[in-house]
């Protein structure tokens, strides 16, 4: 009997290393003769540089070099465009990407102007104070709506306005559908900025080895292979001369898939220039202004429904804050546009967005990557509609779910992978029913809430649904090899930032080869080990790399069976793999271990048949035709102090369907972490900029991250609707926890407060904002 590994709640292979401090992070890389870099960053959001004088800094003892833009010579450039705009007719896209160092115009707070290279970070930072910059401060573009007014200052003078992009997608004919509507509801929705605040900031170490003529770069990137190829071309090196290592990384969340960051372009070049290893580790103050952020959008949205609450159509026009540059293309607003459709049948849809340049840090995907906004808008519209039509909130969702027999379901608009947004599979009602049951909806509404209200307590419930596009292409690859020791090595090209790859990928290999997971050694993120692939993002690690590993392991399994068949002189169909060996079915004493087979497959003397490949090794790739669609329902019960507006979460439930679950404990962890970030986004975290583009809360003294005390126990229920798009049937799970928490808070707090005229249309919330909304509602 084959042992089942996929689906098992197994402890993580990587944790002993991580918990005992053995895991390598970029800042652990310390090399003989290594130099340290500190960046001079603009204290203004928008300014012209009249002059940058680095002469005094160069003279400070311990300073080895100082670089401003003009010192880079031909190497100075703007970073590449990472994602092109989608092939939608009529799309406007003004490409402006970030320079390595500012040449003439600063466009956001913290943009790097000069780099000091010194014998220590202390000396480098001290020398920053020696650099004299003559700034001509310019009026800053901060507010999204004001940015588009005539006469607004411009972020990029050579673009005629602050429009970064404009794109319209439609399904059916909204205006026509609206004519037959019973109810039309229109509102303005605002969703503001936060930062991912990964535990580990960014960092780059680069070492040029003159003997081997090779450059090694340790980088906190989610995408080591694209970094290698891009750097090789920028630096004029052969790809084979570059080794990029993305070691263990303390959280990616999307900002570490942005490329190229200025520091990522500069540090390797400096290492070659100086012939010494060079290190730059971002500190938290830098992270608040130099690492990309999300997610300001303003939506003017409208929903048209029948009397019984069926959606006839949605009309949405929104502004999206791009920040100062747009190297990541339109991924974020496109996700907002697509994800708004949710698990619902929306036959008519008009969605138009304008991406706006502002003098703020770049906006690129951060866990959810625009999906939050879309989900916020549709869920709030449904809540408002339900109230107006007298339908219970879960019921209006149920009435609009896409029924299970309509999959695959084509939404007929273009998604971030530039294919049609087609939901591969799904069954939404069971998720809703299970969430209602787990949260105890009926009991809460009929008994607990009335009882609590009679005691003067302010308690409420929320329940929201979403879909999450995951597992997009193009492809990933893997190499699997059985070694003579019987251990199995696996290499894949994606990086790892805490997702449990060392365990879930081992489970996939173990399932195919029937080897214990602690005998499987995985290497991720080292381009010398595997140099194809794109990276860890968009909830695609398990789907795309997972299936590539599965395909490679299948190939190895075939080789193992063939070799064992030759060796044991038994037909392959009479053999089985078990406990690290191949056995004859029904005669288990006739067996040979995988290690012995590996040794025989790599003879040291004698002859082999022509065409024989050595070893028990295979490399294979997987690229899905399109992304797989996960879905879920979040439910929450809160108690509010109506005077201080402090919120206590009493119960939090997530029912999640990501197809085949490889390791439920790891998916639980993904959900828990996502919910924590979602709670932060909904109630604690907000980057607050003043009218000059100054960040008013750029440290953890003032930027509030929820802690363990603020994040409740989260109960997770797993549904499994398999994806037909990949052999494992998996869908992604990385972003699900974070996506719908904003509307969940809004709904639960409205339910708790039970105040006529109170509408929560803005995220993030805070006690102060809630208090003002309540005063406003009471005043009306």
């Amino acid at each position: 009997m084959a042992t089942q590994y996929i689906g098992k709640r197994l402890k993580r292979n990587e944790d002993p290393r991580l918990l005992t401090g053995q895991a390598l992070f970029v800042d652990d890389v310390n090399l003989p003769g290594m130099l340290h870099v500190a960046f001079l960053r603009s204290p203004y959001a928008h300014a012209r540089l009249n002059s940058v004088d680095t002469s005094k800094a160069r003279q400070r003892e311990g300073v080895v070099a100082v670089y401003a833009a003009r010192d880079l010579g031909d190497y100075w450039c703007n970073g590449p465009l990472l994602v092109s705009p989608p092939p939608v007719e009529g799309t406007v896209f003004n490409e402006r990407t970030q320079p390595i160092l500012v040449m003439d115009t600063v466009r956001h707070l913290g943009e790097p102007i000069a780099a000091v290279v010194a014998e220590s970070r202390y000396l480098a930072e001290d020398a920053l104070t020696d650099i004299l910059v003559d700034y001509e401060v310019l009026p800053a573009v901060v507010d999204l709506e004001a940015a588009l007014e005539d006469g607004s200052p411009r972020v990029h003078e050579d673009v005629g306005s602050n429009v970064a992009a404009h794109l319209v997608q439609t399904i059916g004919d909204y205006e026509k559908a609206k004519k037959s509507a019973h109810t039309v509801i229109a509102r303005r929705f605002v969703y503001d900025h936060g930062t991912a605040a990964a535990l580990e900031n960014r960092g780059v170490v680069a070492e040029w080895d003159a003997h081997s003529q090779r450059l090694t770069v340790w980088d906190t990137t989610q995408a080591p292979n694209p970094i290698r190829i891009g750097l090789a071309s920028m630096l004029g090196l052969s790809e084979n001369q570059l080794r990029v290592i993305a070691p263990f990384i303390g959280g990616g969340f999307g900002p570490k898939i942005m490329m190229f960051y200025p520091e990522e372009m500069l540090i390797p070049w400096v290492a070659i220039q100086l012939g010494r290893p060079v290190k730059w580790i971002e500190d938290r103050s830098e992270n608040f202004v130099a690492t990309t952020q999300e997610r300001s959008q303003i939506h003017q949205a409208e929903i048209a429904l029948t009397e019984d609450g069926k959606i006839l159509g949605v009309h949405d026009v929104f502004l999206h804050d791009s920040g100062a540059y747009d190297p990541y293309g339109l991924t974020v607003p496109l996700n907002s546009q697509c994800t708004l459709l949710g698990p619902y049948k929306i036959p008519n849809y008009y969605s138009e967005f304008t991406a706006v340049f502002t003098n703020k840090t770049l906006v690129t995907p951060y866990r959810g990557a625009g999906r939050q906004h879309g989900v916020f808008v549709i869920e709030r519209l449904l809540d408002l509609a339900a109230k107006e039509l007298g339908i219970e909130l879960p019921e209006i969702r149920r009435r609009n779910f896409i029924p299970p027999d309509e999959f695959p379901y084509d939404n007929k608009i273009i998604y971030q992978d530039f294919t049609n947004l087609v939901y591969d599979s799904g069954d939404y009602e069971p998720s809703l029913d299970r969430a209602l049951e787990m949260i105890g909806y009926d009991e809460f509404v009929n008994q607990i809430q009335p009882q609590a209200r009679s005691e003067g307590r302010t308690v409420g419930i929320g329940i929201v649904a979403y879909v999450e596009g995951t597992g997009i292409g193009p492809y990933e690859g893997a190499r699997v090899q059985v070694q003579q020791s019987g251990r199995v090595s696996v290499a894949t090209g994606i990086g790892t930032q805490g997702q449990g790859h060392f365990t879930s990928y081992a489970q996939i290999v173990a399932e195919q080869l029937q080897v214990d997971i602690d005998k499987i050694d995985l290497v991720t993120g080292d381009t010398d080990q595997f140099h194809w692939g794109t990276g860890t993002f968009a909830s695609r690690g398990a789907v795309v790399a997972g299936n590539a590993i599965n395909e490679a392991a299948k190939d190895v399994r075939a080789k193992v069976l063939k070799a064992a068949s030759d060796e044991l002189e038994v037909a392959e169909e009479d053999l089985e793999l078990a406990e690290g060996e191949v056995r004859v079915i029904g005669a288990p004493s006739r067996s040979i271990s995988l290690g012995e087979l590996a040794a025989k497959a790599n003879p040291l003397r004698g002859a082999v048949k022509p065409g024989t490949e050595p070893g028990l090794e295979a490399t294979n790739y997987f690229g899905p035709e399109r992304g797989a669609t996960s879905n879920g329902v979040h439910a929450m019960i809160v108690e509010l102090d109506p005077e201080t507006m402090m919120v206590e979460i009493q119960k939090f439930v997530v029912v999640h369907d990501c197809g085949r679950v490889i390791n439920p404990m790891i998916v639980d962890g993904q959900i828990h972490g996502g919910v924590a970030q979602g709670i932060g986004n909904a109630f604690y975290e907000q980057l607050i900029f003043d009218e000059n583009g100054q960040l008013l809360n750029g440290s953890f003294m003032d930027y509030l991250l929820p802690t363990a005390l603020d994040v409740p126990n989260v109960s997770v229920g797993h549904e499994e609707t398999l994806s037909p798009l990949n052999p494992l049937g998996t869908k992604g799970a990385g972003e699900a926890g974070a996506i719908p928490v904003g509307p969940l808070f809004a709904q639960a707090l409205e339910d708790a407060l039970q105040l006529d005229g109170l509408e929560i249309l803005e995220i993030p919330l805070s006690p102060s904002l809630l208090w003002e909304l309540v005063q406003e509602a009471k005043g009306n």
Binding site: D283, E643, Y684, Q686, L704, S766, S768, W771
Partner: protein, 290 residues
């Protein structure tokens, strides 16, 4: 986030420390370091000399003497937090200590540092105003006593001279039916107060308020003593109407500014709510409740 270079001195006696401070106008005292080190790493503070007073013996104690609770300025928050004496007889101080930052910070941070740093967001200043505490400063000419009302002169500014060290805090020991409470809105553990209120009351016969102190945290450039609120409650029975009136007056005494933690109006409303709760709890405790 690396401080600029600085000199470091670790004197073994108060006299030595005072002498170093006298000679260096740019010197700062390092007590628990939980505020100062963070400011130095952000380069918001750059003292030329740090005078570490952690090695001076005899500055950490909690004892009752001559009608006062005397607390050495270097007493750690965690020591206050675990003191049975404080818990039993000084509930306002116990409440305050428990909501300062988090346990890791409280292991190092000191009562003296919390006061002498004079951050309007710090919690002990309002509490000491409510208690009517006295602060002992030691300088080249010996000790002088500063009533707490005269101590805070501006944000991050006190009436301590450059060569004076805050060495002792004296809180009047409660007698009769006394009680106190600290009410703070912190959005999460470790955050500064959006607003907070300290109240200390003594009840006379028939529940009439004989003495009352009310201090407000982080709703002005310095901690605020809500004098009008105190006067309105004084001599009255501490009933709902009297407490509400005092709470209203306290909110009028607040001078908050809008910041990322909240609007002016919200903070005023919050002061009212928290004053109401603090007085109510203080009265309850004075009447023998916990």
């Amino acid at each position: 986030m690396i401080p600029p270079s600085f000199d470091y001195e670790a004197p073994a006696s108060l006299e030595e420390a005072i002498a170093i401070l006298g000679k260096n106008p740019e010197a700062k005292i390092l007590a628990g370091g939980q505020s100062l080190i963070a400011l130095m790493k952000l380069r918001l503070a750059s003292p030329a000399v740090l005078v570490d007073i952690n090695r001076i013996e005899g500055l950490g104690y909690i004892k009752e003497e001559d009608g006062w609770l005397r607390i050495g300025a270097m007493t750690r928050e965690s020591d206050l937090d675990t003191s049975d004496l404080v818990r039993e007889k000084y509930p306002l101080l116990a409440d305050t200590t428990r909501v300062i930052a988090d346990p890791l910070v409280r292991n190092l941070s000191t009562l003296g540092g919390n006061l002498a740093h004079a951050d309007p967001a710090n919690d002990h200043p309002a509490t000491m105003l409510a208690y009517g505490a006295e602060l002992v400063a030691t300088g080249p000419k010996g000790e002088r006593i500063i009533p707490v009302g005269d101590f805070f002169t501006g944000p991050f500014e006190t009436s301590l001279a450059q060569d004076e060290i805050l060495t002792e805090i004296r809180i009047p020991s409660p007698n009769g039916s006394s009680g106190g409470a600290y009410q703070k809105l912190e959005r999460k553990v470790g955050d500064f107060a959006t607003a907070a209120v300290a109240a200390q009351v003594k009840l006379g016969e028939k529940g009439v308020v004989e003495q009352v102190g009310i201090g407000l945290t982080n709703v002005g450039l310095t901690p605020i003593k809500a004098t009008a609120a105190e006067e309105s409650l004084q001599g009255k029975e501490a009933n709902e109407a009297a407490i509400s009136e005092a709470a209203q007056l306290a909110s009028e005494a607040a001078e908050p500014e809008a910041d990322p933690r909240g609007s002016v109006e919200f903070k005023r409303a919050l002061v009212k709510t928290l004053t109401h709760r603090a007085i109510k709890t203080a009265v309850g405790r004075a009447q023998g409740g916990k």
